[in-house]
């Protein structure tokens, strides 16, 4: 009986569970900051216009048609030279801010205006006409390459900075958040017309946005696509057509799409001898992808340089060799076999030729480097034999058409007769 009573007591006591409730109340004065984005007003930057003659500061690319040479000046615009008989004369300057690459097709210049693509009619460079503008065209990387983009908000524009504003007020348990409504209306639409200087280094090719524009065939403009793809643009009869092409595109595209590496970014793209070259930079290394349009499969030769960023590259088909400028020397990379299952080079050599040249190209069996001087070499597998040096010829970019070589430097555009590489003559 006693045990039964104890058991009953324990059960009853366990049933006496208490109900508990805890309430927290507070009233506090707090300060909270909120970051408001500052958007870029493109009205000034987007103003494409012909201006007075300006000095060439940093020429980076030359394209031409039968009447004009167009010399790109990094981040500034395009200098136009008119072809006259056997010489050229400066015509005008087309201001296009933050230009980093451009191409000419059917008297239409396709160039970047910071992150926008603009198509300019240059039939008469003195009276240009902006035919089309594709907003944010070069700022549409996706997937794992979102960080290549400049921050952008649809309908508001590029975010170029931010302002932080601090609000102080009382919060309570009933009203736990500060009311930023007034600040939102005050600072919600901040704009600026200037890009921050910190966005640009001494090497604009390493800065965002990553721009590469090349012309394939007569009218197709290839640029980097959203992810491991091409964006291909044509502008015919006043209508722009833009499409994306990647490895799954049907029918298959003409060229293999570019590959976006995880630890590098594309710094420079150009088209030469039916090959697309993409020179990319890493933090201490560099690469060059050479994209072909032959063979049953997509074929992209990959050159990797663990110690330098390649400045320029050319291909010597007879030697099955790529020649690459490192900024200090000339390197060779060989791919002897026809084995298309491997895209890697079979041999790398450093020719140990001290040079600060920034351009290299092939003329016949010779190789020419251009920088603070022009040098002509005769290449073989083991050495580059110097043929002739031209200390008077210098430039940061070139254009070759037939026996005419156009070279641009800070002093202007110069035309040379390269019929005889041992006797290159300036065409006055």
């Amino acid at each position: 009986m006693k045990h039964h009573f104890c058991l009953l007591l324990v059960i009853v006591l366990l049933g006496c569970e208490n109900y508990e409730e805890d309430i927290y109340r507070y009233s506090k004065i707090i300060s909270k900051s909120k970051e408001y984005p500052v958007y870029l007003d493109m009205s000034e930057i987007g103003n494409i216009q012909v201006t007075a003659i300006l000095p060439q500061v940093s020429p980076f690319k030359i394209v031409s048609n039968d009447k004009y040479y167009f010399v790109g000046d990094m981040l500034k615009g395009i200098h136009v030279y008119e072809k006259k008989a056997e010489s050229v004369c400066y015509l005008c300057f087309i201001e296009c801010k933050y230009i980093k690459d451009f191409e000419l097709a059917n008297n239409q210049l396709f160039c970047n205006n910071f992150v926008d693509l603009v198509i300019i009619d240059v039939s008469n460079p003195l009276q240009i006409n902006v035919l089309n503008r594709q907003k944010n065209y070069f700022n549409r990387f996706t997937s794992y390459k979102d960080f290549w983009n400049v921050p952008y908000v649809e309908g508001k524009g590029l975010i170029v900075g931010s302002e932080t504003h601090v609000l102080t007020g009382t919060v309570t348990d009933k009203k736990p958040n500060l009311d930023f409504t007034e600040y939102d209306s005050l600072y919600g639409n901040l704009i600026t017309k200037a890009l921050p200087d910190s966005w640009f280094s001494n090497h604009p090719e390493n800065d965002k946005p990553y721009i590469g524009i090349i012309k394939i065939d007569t009218d197709q403009i290839y640029t980097y696509g959203s992810y491991n793809s091409w964006t291909i643009c044509t502008f015919l009869s006043g209508t722009i057509n833009v499409r994306e092409e990647n490895v799954w595109t049907t029918p298959r595209g003409e060229y293999a799409p570019p590959y976006y590496y995880s630890d590098a970014w594309p710094a420079h793209m150009f088209y030469s001898d039916s090959l697309i070259y993409i020179l990319g930079n890493g933090y201490n290394s560099g690469y060059s992808d050479c994209i072909t349009n032959y063979g049953p499969y997509f074929l992209t030769f990959h050159l990797y340089f663990p110690t330098f960023n390649p400045l320029d590259i050319t291909y010597l088909p007879d030697l099955r060799e790529f020649l690459v400028l490192s900024g200090q020397s000339v390197w060779g990379a060989f791919k002897y076999s026809d084995d298309q299952t491997s895209v890697y080079m079979e041999k790398y050599i450093d020719y140990n030729i001290p040079t600060v040249a920034t351009s290299i190209f092939r003329i016949g069996n010779n190789v020419v480097t251009l920088g603070n001087e022009l040098s002509v070499y005769l290449p073989s597998e083991n050495e580059l034999k110097l043929v002739k040096n031209y200390p008077d010829i210098s430039g940061s970019c070139y254009s070759k058409a037939g026996n005419v070589l156009a070279v641009a430097n800070t002093r202007g555009l110069f035309i040379y007769d390269i019929n005889d590489l041992e006797n290159i003559k300036l065409i006055p």
């Binding site: 006591l13 006496c16 109900y19 508990e20 309430i23 927290y24």
Partner: protein, 252 residues
């Protein structure tokens, strides 16, 4: 606050006055012969004031906080000195049987041999002191012999009448610890249904054995104040369920 305090002490004074007046001044001559005692209990007055002094134990499950110390095994070394590792205290919880003493005094009026009503005050020691002030309704089956009875008590238990300041305040509820804060217990509504057995002792008194269920609401508030009317306040409400076993004596 002051009004509640007055109510409580006025009630206490009244109950004590009635308690004294409820004692019979009549001299009692006990006769050891059973039939005479029996006859004397039959003559007990059916109406009149009564007083009950009651002591009981409140039993229930309570949750308590243990503050466990944690000593970091790794002292901090610098080039010139060694700093003793800090000691951290973490709250741990345990549920255990609580036994709380309760003392009450009730004064009331018997309307007839069955029904009575009264009011009482008391003193109880739970986690903190409670001072119940209540009204009761009492039904007794037989007045003149050993009898079961039922009581329903209901009222309000007062707790501390003012907030106390603590430099270090440890609590059994969140935030468990704070400093430089004030704590006030508010008490709350009580309900106390009770059953028991009444054993007549003589013409004027009965011995009561009781068992009861106790429902008690409590509220405690810890408040930490800062300048510019800023504050932190933690309120802890509890509905306590207890069993109560007691013994009392009734004077009539």
């Amino acid at each position: 606050m002051v009004i509640m305090k007055r109510i409580y002490f006025i009630s206490l004074s009244l109950i004590l006055t009635f308690s004294i007046s409820a004692q019979s001044g009549k001299e009692v001559n006990l006769n050891t012969e059973n039939n005479e005692i029996q006859s004397r209990f039959i003559n007990r007055k059916e109406k009149g004031f009564y007083n009950i002094m009651h002591a009981s134990l409140l039993l229930g499950a309570g949750q308590f906080t243990n503050w466990s110390a944690y000593y970091s095994p790794y002292p901090y070394y610098s080039s010139t000195y060694i700093v003793a590792p800090p000691v951290y205290y973490y709250p741990g919880f345990r549920t255990t049987l609580t036994i709380a003493p309760s003392f009450t005094i009730t004064n009331g009026y018997k309307f007839n041999k069955h029904w009575a009503a009264g009011a009482g005050v008391g003193f109880e020691i739970l986690n903190y002191n409670l001072f119940p002030l209540y009204a009761e309704l009492r039904y007794t089956l037989w007045d003149h012999k050993i009898s079961p009875f039922m009581v329903l008590k209901s009222g309000y238990s007062f707790a501390g009448f003012k907030a106390r300041h603590f430099d270090d305040l440890y609590l059994d509820w969140p935030p468990y610890y704070t400093n430089d804060a004030r704590l006030r217990h508010h008490g709350g509504f009580m309900l106390h249904p009770e059953i028991g057995v009444k054993v007549p002792l003589n013409e004027n008194s009965d011995l009561l054995f009781t068992a009861a269920y106790r429902y008690q609401k409590t509220k405690s508030v810890a408040r930490k104040e800062y300048d510019q009317a800023q504050f932190d306040e933690w309120e802890h409400n509890e509905n306590i369920n207890l069993l109560c076993f007691g013994i009392g004596i009734m004077f009539r």
